[in-house]
């Protein structure tokens, strides 16, 4: 059954498109996405997820939201702490590099999140409508905790105001929360009006985006040799541990099977949109080769192909199914 899940995921159009993007780069194809298209697709995907979540949120009792939100917050604080300790002690990374990596692994990848919803939709496994809110909840604290660590250990400069602005006013938080609010206030009937663009076309746009992601990922493959075996292991082992922890906490917090899977995915994923921008400003001495390669060329492909079905299988196990 688990193999079945894996097969279904690997043969889904979006994962295959990701593979095509990797091939395109490896054979040096002239295929290239214009910057504007990439930006437009990110805006579309984040807003669409927010709108859909918001409309569903309008139908959900709000009381069910607090335990999962607290669990998410706890993950956002704890993950960077032990990631930092591990990178510093075992990986022997500098303070700045350890804190930068901790910020990325504590924060969340919106694209991995979106891919996991698409996986659950294909399985017809329902999940809670407020899941996009949890993305916003998880995105911010980890970055703040990691930068705080760097500062306490004497490794970081940069002003808090700038960093907080970068994270809170960044487009992923703005579009997700903005979409949620619009969806929530206008409700299911409101969503029906924009559904032809934001619901029906969603999978197609996601496919295009993952094609681009495949190319971006493959361009980073050259750096894999340079980051060393420790980071390679870290980029795969940590997501599995965090994914298991997330699905388990999700079950404890009363989330459904689908919701627990998503919380696992959120915990397991590493940010590469919000965190890099914030870290580049607050911790310029950290080497971008490490954190971008780990998040983008190791953890993202792992989660997209093997991680998501694995976290679903784990969630099913903790839900006693």
């Amino acid at each position: 059954m688990t193999l079945e899940l894996l097969r279904a995921n690997l043969l889904s159009p979006i994962v295959l498109a990701f593979g095509l993007g990797i091939v395109a780069t490896l054979i040096r194809s002239d295929l290239k996405f214009p910057d504007e298209l990439y930006t437009a697709l990110t805006i579309y995907l984040l807003l669409a997820i927010g709108l859909k979540g918001g409309a569903e949120l309008a139908e959900t009792p709000f009381a069910a939201f607090w335990a999962p939100a607290l669990a998410t917050l706890a993950l956002g604080v704890a993950i960077p702490l032990w990631s930092y300790a591990l990178l510093r002690r075992l990986g022997r990374f500098s303070i700045a590099d350890s804190a930068a990596l901790a910020a990325h692994y504590g924060s969340v990848s919106a694209v991995t999140f979106i891919a996991s919803l698409s996986f659950l939709d294909a399985l017809r496994a329902p999940y809670e409508g407020f899941m996009p809110t949890l993305v916003a909840v998880l995105e911010v604290p980890a970055i703040v905790v990691a930068l705080l660590l760097a500062r306490v250990r004497g490794g970081g400069g940069g002003s808090w105001r700038e960093v907080l602005h970068e994270v809170l006013a960044g487009r992923s938080v703005l579009l997700l929360l903005g979409g949620l609010t619009i969806g929530f206030l206008s409700g299911t009937s409101g969503l029906a009006k924009v559904a032809p663009l934001f619901v029906d076309l969603f999978q197609g746009a996601l496919l295009l985006f993952l094609l681009e992601m495949g190319m971006v990922t493959a361009r980073r493959f050259r750096d894999l040799a340079r980051v060393g075996p420790f980071l390679l292991g870290f980029g795969i082992v940590m997501p599995v541990l965090h994914g298991a922890l997330g699905t388990w906490l999700g079950g404890l917090a009363g989330l459904s099977l689908g919701g627990s899977t998503v919380l696992g995915v959120l915990a397991a994923s590493a940010s590469y949109i919000a965190a890099p921008a914030a870290v580049r400003i607050a911790l310029p001495e950290a080497n971008p080769s490490y954190y971008l390669t780990a998040a983008l060329a190791i953890t993202f492909p792992f989660n997209l192909t093997l991680g998501i079905p694995l976290y679903y299988a784990l969630a099913r196990w903790t839900h006693g199914g």
């Binding site: 700038e162 980073r220 590469y272 921008a277 400003i281 310029p284 971008p288 080769s289 971008l292």
Partner: protein, 100 residues
């Protein structure tokens, strides 16, 4: 036409520094800028430019003293950790009062 000597300071920086940089240039005495999105590769060959890391080129016309202050500031706060190029050129302008 009567022209006056001024300095043109050009800064090429990671795009994410744009807002911060413009704010600081203003504080240091620059009164206006021209900004362009650019691409390129330098000594660092930093590969962060492939992901969300476009470059901007900021040009500003200032007096010699301000030009000096700007370079000093950049050298102190940006050169050690960011990929950045900055240089000063002599230019001749009309309407000096527009710039200093």
């Amino acid at each position: 036409m009567h022209t006056v000597a001024l300095k043109e300071v050009t800064v090429i920086a990671e795009a994410l520094l744009e807002d911060k940089l413009l704010r600081e240039l203003r504080e240091l005495g620059a009164r206006g800028f021209t900004i362009a999105d650019v691409r390129g590769e330098g000594s660092r060959r930093l590969r962060d430019d492939e992901w969300e890391g476009r470059r901007v080129r900021v040009e500003t016309l200032v007096g010699a003293e301000v030009a000096d202050r700007i370079l000093q500031h950049l050298a102190e706060h940006y050169f050690p950790h960011y990929s950045m190029v900055a240089y000063v050129a002599d230019v001749q302008v009309v309407r000096r009062e527009k710039y200093v």
